[in-house]
Symmetry: C2
Subunit: 376 residues, 2 copies
């Protein structure tokens, strides 16, 4: 195996594929990237065992200039961290890779730098299903990003109930529903989809966030889902991830159907008041604040036995209902407001300890639900 | 005690004084800032017990506009982290502080935000010597910064031998000499000073770095040194630090007097070759590299049993001597080159295991010495 590749293009490819490689992995094979040069181009594949990212570096760029030249097909596994550092730190325009025997690869910039790296035979790499098969649909990248941004943050980051670390994607009756919940709050986003599609898949939330970043700049994201894995393609990149097994909790009845109190406020102003109130509990990012509402005034307050108390006005506001008080995790509500993504945000309350809704008046496709907390 | 202060000016003052407060301190008094309003202005003092920073916020700005108004003299201790957060996160133009009784202070922006904070009587604060007394001299801030930048990095960051965490400042015969060494390398910078001055003081290197940052933008730094502490003033700020006791090691004879090999190279090119070589040992920032020199070529090489080897040319170069090889801590040499601060850098070698000199051909005031390491 041998090739000379434009360093810029290589760096771009490595930056994507290496994101799947975990530095904590104890399996030396999973610390490598798989380089595979065939008639289509140079494929670079990285994985942590649960998910994989593969990018293709084509022979020619969009202007028809050589990106890869002087080549001989083959494949090899090279330590991800080191090959990335070499590509980033060398200064030449091109890098030449040459596998000397199956255990040593020579990398040089033909001027200043030369490396002899230990490598691993490509046959030892983990086998990944990267076939674009299964139930498939395509979304504009901007819509895919919205779906991820408006839901993924609400998934759990704890491993106690793995199913809650997923975003559930469900297609039925022409609607694609993305749902995330960590059991204390829920985010749901709906969009229309081909009515022939019916599936439900639990996709790790953090992989969706990763894909959202990687897909930036591409036009659309294609998704292929089967019973074991979800596969996403965009530009020259494929991301494959195992699904999280198990039945996703039923969240259909979490959104309350009645409303006893309605509050409409400016999103930025409310966030600034919440952030101002929690300065007393700086060490606890998820500290609770209380929201007091009356037809005359809306206040955010916070108390800390050690430090004192804070009270911040929320102005202007529109409130319907009688005097009402609710306490909530400050971080949850800030994230819900940001996910709603509108200038003004509406809160619908049922009662002091009942889940409440955070929504955008002009966009019913997104709904955020937060469960209050007790304060004494 | 009561005052209304421009929030911008308060934030500036807090940003300086709070830098001396350690979040790890278990003494609750040292988690506070001391606010002291008297006829000169509002003094804000922070400390970790070993050093202290005090800034003054004057009543009027340079245009004669009110910075502090509606005041009543007094002093109080307020939690540093919380008062800083309040000053940064509130949005009003002014903040009003009012000590209600000696244990509660009310802070409000008179519009949106109001805080009732627990506070501590100012009498409980640690007593610091902030009198501008002792042997004194003044340096332009740019020269003070150079002295710190060219030496402090070479001090030890480990507490085993506290004296090595200092920069030794010595005045004798009209020369001010700053020396730092962690015993494997040394940095020395000299400058002229009033010939009447004679002193030697071991000042914590990290405090000097702190002062260098804080003094940015001021014209000069005045230093007052007595047997126990060093005090630095610039603009409206005073920094006081305990000296490190003990005799500073004799470094007079570390700079070799003979030279058997001389290498002159471009500073940036050498750094890029060293950084390119150490990618094989990414996890060890201080990994050793070898420098091979001959009249024909100069190479930086590195080896890792696990990963392989690297070889990077250094070009162009000027070398005087026979074939010669030396191995060194890559980080030490990169820092020495950066401290020398010139486009081209000169290395003077005596022998394979003898300390070598890194210097700037056109500036004899700065000399860096590095001890080689053994590699096999």
């Amino acid at each position: 195996m041998r090739f000379t590749v434009k360093r810029d293009e290589l760096v771009k490819g490595l930056n994507s594929a290496s994101r799947a490689v975990s530095s904590k992995n104890t399996n030396p094979v999973l610390a490598t990237l798989k380089f595979d040069l065939n008639e289509e181009g140079l494929f670079v594949l990285g994985s942590n065992g649960d998910y994989a990212i593969r990018t293709k570096i084509p022979y020619k760029d969009s202007d028809g200039n050589d990106v890869i030249r002087n080549y001989e097909f083959g494949s090899v596994l090279i330590n991800s961290k080191i090959v990335c550092e070499i590509a980033r730190k060398t200064t030449g325009e091109e890098l030449t890779f040459e596998v000397l025997d199956s255990t040593v690869v020579n990398i040089s910039d033909s001027k200043k730098a030369e490396y002899q790296l230990n490598c691993i035979r490509s046959e030892e790499y983990v086998d990944f299903d990267l076939e674009t098969e299964g139930t498939s649909f395509e979304l504009p990248t901007s819509l895919f990003a919205k779906i991820v941004e408006q839901t993924a943050f609400a998934a759990s980051t704890k491993d106690q109930r793995p199913i809650l670390t997923a975003v559930n994607l469900e297609a039925a009756d022409g609607t694609l529903t993305a749902t995330a919940t960590d059991s204390a709050r829920m985010a749901r986003k709906t969009t229309t989809i081909n009515p022939d599609l019916t599936f439900s898949a639990n996709i790790p939330a953090k992989i969706l966030v990763e894909i959202e970043h990687l897909a930036e700049g591409s036009e659309s994201v294609s998704c292929y889902i089967n019973s074991r894995r979800a596969l996403f393609t965009f530009g020259d990149t494929i991301v494959s991830t195992s699904l999280i097994s198990g039945e996703y909790p039923n969240t259909k009845n979490i959104v309350p159907k009645v409303t006893n109190y309605t509050l409409e406020v400016n999103a930025k102003d409310l966030i600034s008041s919440i952030e101002g109130a929690v300065v007393l509990n700086e060490d606890n990012k998820e500290s609770a604040v209380e929201l007091f509402m009356s037809p005359e005034a809306v206040d955010i307050t916070s108390r800390s036995q050690q430090q004192g108390s804070s009270k911040l006005k929320v102005e202007p506001f529109r409130f319907e209902g009688q005097n009402f008080r609710v306490a909530f995790n400050s971080q949850f509500v800030i994230q819900a407001i940001n996910a709603v993504g509108s200038e003004d945000v509406t809160f619908l309350f049922v009662g002091e300890m009942k889940p409440f809704v955070v929504k955008n008046n002009s966009d019913d496709s997104i709904v955020e639900v937060v469960t209050p907390v007790r304060t004494y």
